[in-house]
């Protein structure tokens, strides 16, 4: 079992002919993901990866022909908002945007539009998601995680890989690992994922990896305290980050005194969440 994606997910890759698109499509196919189509305007009718995946000019054509029910976006930041709108208008209910560097006002318009259409977006600026042993939609290395009963949700990429790998070393596996991305405005947040994990019968415990900036962790803490029965272990990155500086991720910034790691840790601990001092403590905290 899993959340958001499983072995029945029929994936469309937007921007499939680019370097990133092609490479990760191959990786996803190798993992067992059903990649049914790709798009690249002007290359409709071609096939990529030795005839494994057909390319279409538009999302609409791809959906009509292949019945794709999820999409992943690898196009550059200047074209990504349009790619999201296109997928939503083609009737795709779940869109993953890997692209980093999307302008924040674009994201506000995208999010408003998708909310009206009730389309779910994951990202942007995210590594996608992985349901170990079943499917991966994104760029999380498949070999670093095993199937299990822990739900993982994170704002970060490589830090999440670290945690997945540490879990694997400790013999622990994941139901699904979701990277929600490091941008200030995104499609899916902690609460969305926590709520799905709470409802997923196979998820027993949850790891939530946050970082400085915004108040999503604080809101998640309230949700955990009021709505969740499953235990949550957390880690918050950026204890030593100076205020007013963007720490790589567009959303990782302490502004006007808000968004500090200390505030988030306090809120989570008050909600009964065990917060690790460093990520390598997470496996043992889960075993407790």
């Amino acid at each position: 079992m899993s959340i958001l994606v499983d072995k029945n997910t029929r994936l469309l890759v937007q921007g499939i002919t680019g370097n990133e698109g092609l490479f990760h499509t191959q990786q996803m196919l190798t993992y067992g993901t059903k990649v049914v189509a790709g798009t690249r305007p002007g290359k409709g009718g071609e096939w990529v990866l030795d005839g494994k995946v057909p390319v279409f000019d538009s999302c609409k054509a791809a959906v009509e022909t292949t019945g794709a029910n999820a999409s992943i976006i690898f196009v550059s930041a200047s074209f990504a908002p349009d790619a999201i709108f296109e997928a939503a208008d083609a009737g795709i209910p779940f869109i993953v945007c890997i692209t980093e560097g999307v302008a924040v006002q674009d994201m506000m318009r995208v999010r408003e539009y998708l909310d009206q259409k009730q389309v779910r977006l994951l990202g942007p600026n995210c590594p996608g998601l992985l349901t170990p042993g079943e499917t991966k939609v994104g760029i999380i290395p498949g070999n670093i995680a095993i199937p299990g009963n822990i739900g993982v949700v994170s704002r970060s990429g490589t830090l999440t890989y670290e945690v997945l790998y540490a879990l694997k070393q400790a013999g622990l596996g994941a139901t699904t690992c979701v990277g929600i991305g490091g941008d200030p405005i995104n499609g899916t947040d902690f609460i969305d994922c926590l709520s799905m994990f709470e409802d997923d019968p196979h998820t027993e415990k949850i790891v939530m990896i946050g970082e400085i900036g915004g108040t999503d962790e604080e809101k998640a803490a309230q949700f955990i305290a009021s709505k969740m029965t499953k235990p949550v272990v957390s880690f918050i990155a950026g204890q030593t980050a100076p205020p007013g500086k963007r720490m790589g991720h567009a959303g990782a910034i302490i502004e006007g005194g808000a968004g500090t790691a200390a505030d988030k840790v306090r809120a989570l601990e008050e909600a009964g969440v065990k917060v690790a001092k460093h990520p390598e403590q997470i496996p043992e905290m889960l075993k407790e």
């Binding site: 970060s156 490589t158 980050a241 460093h278």
Partner: protein, 377 residues
């Protein structure tokens, strides 16, 4: 990216927002000439990219052109919060009846732009928010619809603006909204927007922050960047597509991924060390990028140790190790280096690097401990 006051006000002016007719000067002589042209009393305003200029003595009134020259001489010699003043703005002095705050920013939690206004203008809005939050009017804007006229009116009513000014205030709100959208700003601020004794409104100050991710469609604005506000190493890092922030410690950190880079700093601190920087080399970690990152870290003379922390996912650790070795050959650093590789092909990677006399570590905690110890070598 931050814009100076004079740049922001130039942009505001283009969008129909009334601004003073002042000009910017780099020397005291220029300042005097501008003051002569303007005639009457002027305000000499330091142009540095930090707040609190007034309190620091960086904004002063001058009654004559000669006095403007003297004041400009003093201000141009100043440093404000560590930044040297290189330019001053000479504006005609205004006859102020009331000061208002008006700004637009991104409300992250609401995922919408928000107009903020207050009748208590002229002081920092953060200060008003702390002491008198009820004095700030907030109106969220639908990003697909944009500012509606009634919303501008609601703001005017909310700050008790006299009826006679509503029309002009509405025009200023619409202008400011256009600036915010068309420049891809993350903040546009007029503080103060003043009611003049002459019975009209004017933007006496201006501040703009731009979204770095949107600069690709604003080459004209990108050119306005003043690199004085950044540490030179940060400017250098941007050239190589590296994300770098200087800190005050002595353990240089080189990490792939922003979240992991923050975590590496945190764990250095947790084990009693002080991180010298945040640095995300991104995916791939080719030799050229590693070499550039190494040079940037070593340009900080406080750095006594470099800690590499790399998670090999799709990029295999042995490839990363080869990148590091090539970079070492080129840069030839003399300080100790601790390296932690984990993930795909970590064993092969570690072997390559231990031959190069680097201190290898297996866990994050181990890497932090060894880095802290190496500072004392």
């Amino acid at each position: 990216m931050k814009l100076h006051e004079y740049q922001s006000k130039q942009i505001f002016g283009r969008y129909g927002i009334p601004v003073p007719k002042g000009r910017v000067a780099a020397t005291a002589t220029e300042a005097r000439q501008i003051a002569e042209e303007l005639g009457g009393r002027v305000v000499v305003k330091s142009q540095v990219l930090v707040g609190g200029r007034g309190k620091a003595g960086g904004i002063r009134l001058a009654k004559t052109a000669k006095e403007a020259e003297e004041v400009a001489t003093q201000i141009l010699g100043m440093e404000i919060k560590g930044l040297p003043v290189r330019k001053v703005l000479i504006d005609p002095a205004a006859n102020i009846e009331q000061e208002i705050y008006l700004g637009i920013t991104n409300d992250r939690a609401a995922r919408r732009p928000v107009f903020m206004a207050s009748a208590a203008g002229g002081v920092e809005i953060e200060e008003v928010a702390r002491t008198h939050p009820e004095k700030i009017i907030k109106v969220h804007i639908d990003p697909l619809l944009g500012l509606r006229d009634y919303q501008a009116r609601d703001i005017a009513i909310g700050i008790d603006l006299p009826k006679d000014y509503w029309k002009q205030f509405g025009e200023i709100c619409r202008g400011l909204w256009k600036v915010y959208v068309e420049c891809d700003a993350t903040l546009v601020e007029i503080n103060p927007l003043v009611i003049l004794k002459e019975k009209s409104l004017m933007a006496l100050d201006g501040k703009m922050l731009l979204d770095d991710n949107a600069l690709f469609r604003h080459s004209d604005l990108a050119e306005m960047r003043d690199v004085d506000e950044e540490a030179p190493a940060e400017t250098e890092a941007r050239k190589y597509g590296l994300s770098f922030i200087k800190l005050n410690g002595n353990i240089g950190c080189m990490v792939n991924g922003a979240g992991l880079a923050m975590t590496t700093m945190d764990i250095v601190k947790l084990f009693g060390g002080e991180p010298a920087n945040f640095l995300d080399i991104g995916g791939g970690a080719g030799a050229d990028k590693v070499a550039a990152a190494m040079r940037i870290i070593l340009s900080d003379k406080n750095v006594k140790v470099i800690l590499f922390n790399v998670f090999g996912g799709i990029t295999r650790c042995d490839e990363v190790a080869k990148g590091i070795l090539t970079a070492l050959d080129e840069v030839k650093p003399t300080i100790p280096m601790v390296v932690r590789l984990v993930g795909t092909n970590a064993e092969e990677g570690r072997k390559l690097l231990s031959d190069a006399k680097m201190i290898t570590a297996e866990t994050l905690a181990d890497a932090a401990r060894k880095s802290v110890a190496a500072v004392k070598l």
